[in-house]
């Protein structure tokens, strides 16, 4: 903190910085090596194509896939759109029913809403209070006309890890496709599509120390998954996604995925240490709630609600700290997080939550600064809070009757 005036960045769940080694790998492809990978008639094209294929191999390598199963896209949102809409169109004859979770990322929820507008039937499943899928409930939701189940592997807000092996097995048994949104999973959980029954998987570079604006969709070849293209044009990516390939971006994603594959263990050990330190430093404030399962969670995420303090004041008090809150994602409207609401949190607890996400460049000193800043702010606001005072006097604040007339 001393040499920099910038806030401490604990928002790796929003995006990660590019690894400097990734940036170095990208730059030549913006300078002398600017060719279009689709150019077949000269060296610029050939070398660019080679770089793209090498990167494809790196992305495939991280997840245990065949490089031919990787389709470049602009990011996880586009991958998810292609997977869900593409499968909906390709398998229309089979059925028009889809299943997802209420706690999914907007890329999935909004795409599913679009399918509904097109006449499909979508089931949005509740999750358990710890954020995990209830397999029995999923099983009960499967129908003969169910085409696809879409599951967020690692939740972006609460970091919980879904049991993809069990979910996939269930889908396989019923002949239903499984799409997994792995935007937050790459580099954080071990992924092997040879072992796991995943049919489609969305990935992005910028949550794993790569550049923004590049992602990929894994499309299983055996058994083959059919998709209808959502982007028409020159027929790139085996006709699945037209558009000139951005060589530098692709090289960046490939390098980022190659690096994390070799360094995942040390990254994981570091993250676990930081998570424990942060959790210990904040827990003894008392009246705090960890949102989502602690056990089934990536170590890079901690999401906590602080009772008896108001969310906006909490956020405003955290000078020098870059974190997200349970109302920040849709902050224009100050709507409480739908993910936390799905776990059963009240509006006020959703508002007074902080999502703290660390990364490989986070230091112990930054965590200690965060602990100190959050503690001081929570304590100051509780000193000012009539609800905290009532709680201290032994009053059950949640059971109190409040007149809410003035708000309407």
């Amino acid at each position: 903190m001393a040499e920099s005036q910038l806030p401490v960045y604990l928002d790796y769940g929003a995006t990660t910085p590019c690894d400097p080694r990734v940036v170095d790998a990208m730059v030549p492809w913006l300078r002398a090596h600017f060719g279009n990978p689709a150019s077949r008639t000269h060296a610029w094209g050939w070398e660019a194509e080679e770089a793209v294929e090498q990167a494809r191999g790196h992305v495939a390598g991280l997840i245990g896939a065949d490089p031919r199963e990787i389709v470049w896209t602009s990011g996880a949102t586009e991958s998810t759109n292609l997977a869900i809409k593409g499968a909906a169109e390709a398998y229309e004859a089979k059925g028009r029913h889809f299943i997802t979770l209420k706690t999914e990322h907007k890329a999935t929820l909004d795409t599913m809403r679009e399918l509904e507008r097109r006449g499909c039937d979508v089931t949005f499943l509740d999750v358990e209070p710890d954020g995990l899928v209830n397999l029995e409930r999923l099983k009960a939701a499967l129908r003969v006309d169910t085409v696809l189940v879409s599951i967020l592997w690692v939740n972006n807000e609460i970091g919980v890890i879904q049991d993809i092996a069990a979910i996939g097995a269930l889908c396989r048994e019923r002949g239903v496709l499984l799409h997994v949104d792995a935007a937050q999973a790459t580099g954080r959980v071990a992924i092997d599509v040879q072992q796991l029954p995943i049919d489609l998987m969305s990935m992005t570079a910028h949550k794993t120390y790569g550049p923004k604006g590049i992602g990929a969709l894994y499309v299983r070849r055996k058994p083959k998954v059919r998709l209808v293209s959502q982007m028409h044009g020159g027929g790139h990516e085996r006709g699945l996604r037209s558009g000139t390939l951005p060589t530098h971006q692709i090289v960046g994603m490939g390098e980022a995925f190659r690096l994390i594959q070799g360094e995942m263990h040390e990254v994981d050990v570091h993250a676990r240490m930081l998570q424990q330190r942060l959790l210990a430093g904040l827990s003894d404030l008392g009246e705090v709630i960890v949102n989502g399962s602690l056990e089934h969670r990536v170590p890079q995420n901690l999401n906590m609600s602080f009772k008896y303090v108001e969310g906006e004041a909490l956020m405003a008090g955290l000078h020098g700290l870059a974190v997200s809150s349970g109302s920040a994602c849709t902050s224009a409207s100050m709507e409480p997080s739908y993910v936390l609401k799905a776990l059963g949190r009240s509006d006020e607890l959703a508002h007074s939550s902080l999502r703290m996400t660390t990364g490989r460049f986070t230091t112990i000193e930054e965590i200690d600064f965060a602990i100190q800043t959050i503690r001081a702010t929570v304590q100051r606001l509780r000193e000012l809070s009539p609800l905290w005072e009532l709680h201290e006097q032994g009053v059950d604040v949640d059971a109190m009757q409040w007149e809410a007339a003035h708000q309407e």
């Binding site: 303090v309 004041a313 006020e348 009539p386 609800l387 409040w402 007149e403």
Partner: protein
Amino acid sequence: MAYSEKVIDYSENPRYAGSLDAEDPCVGTALVGSPRAGEVIKLQIRVNPATGLIAQARFKTYGSGPAIAASSLVAEWAHGKTPDAAALIRNADIARELSLPPLKVHCSILAEEAIKAAVKDYQSKIDRKAAA
């Protein structure tokens, strides 16, 4: 959201924060708002029986910066006034003084509600005492 310097000053360095003894016959207490709505203001006034003026005003507020600022300001303004005069504090004046954005004007309305309720609580104590 960008707030005026006054809002930031009052919310970060609140004046008149604290509590008075609610059992004191000279103290009027108000608790208005709701956690669900995002603001709860507790406002208390203590009237000096000799002068009939508000000798102390204290608040505690659960809410955003503007809610804390409006509470602090209304406590400041109530100070030294008679309860009747304090009950005339207008939300529009609070909103103007703090340059509240439209989305936060309800904080000034709640602050007015708080001072009115505190005065009413004080009056009812006095009336009960007179009746006894």
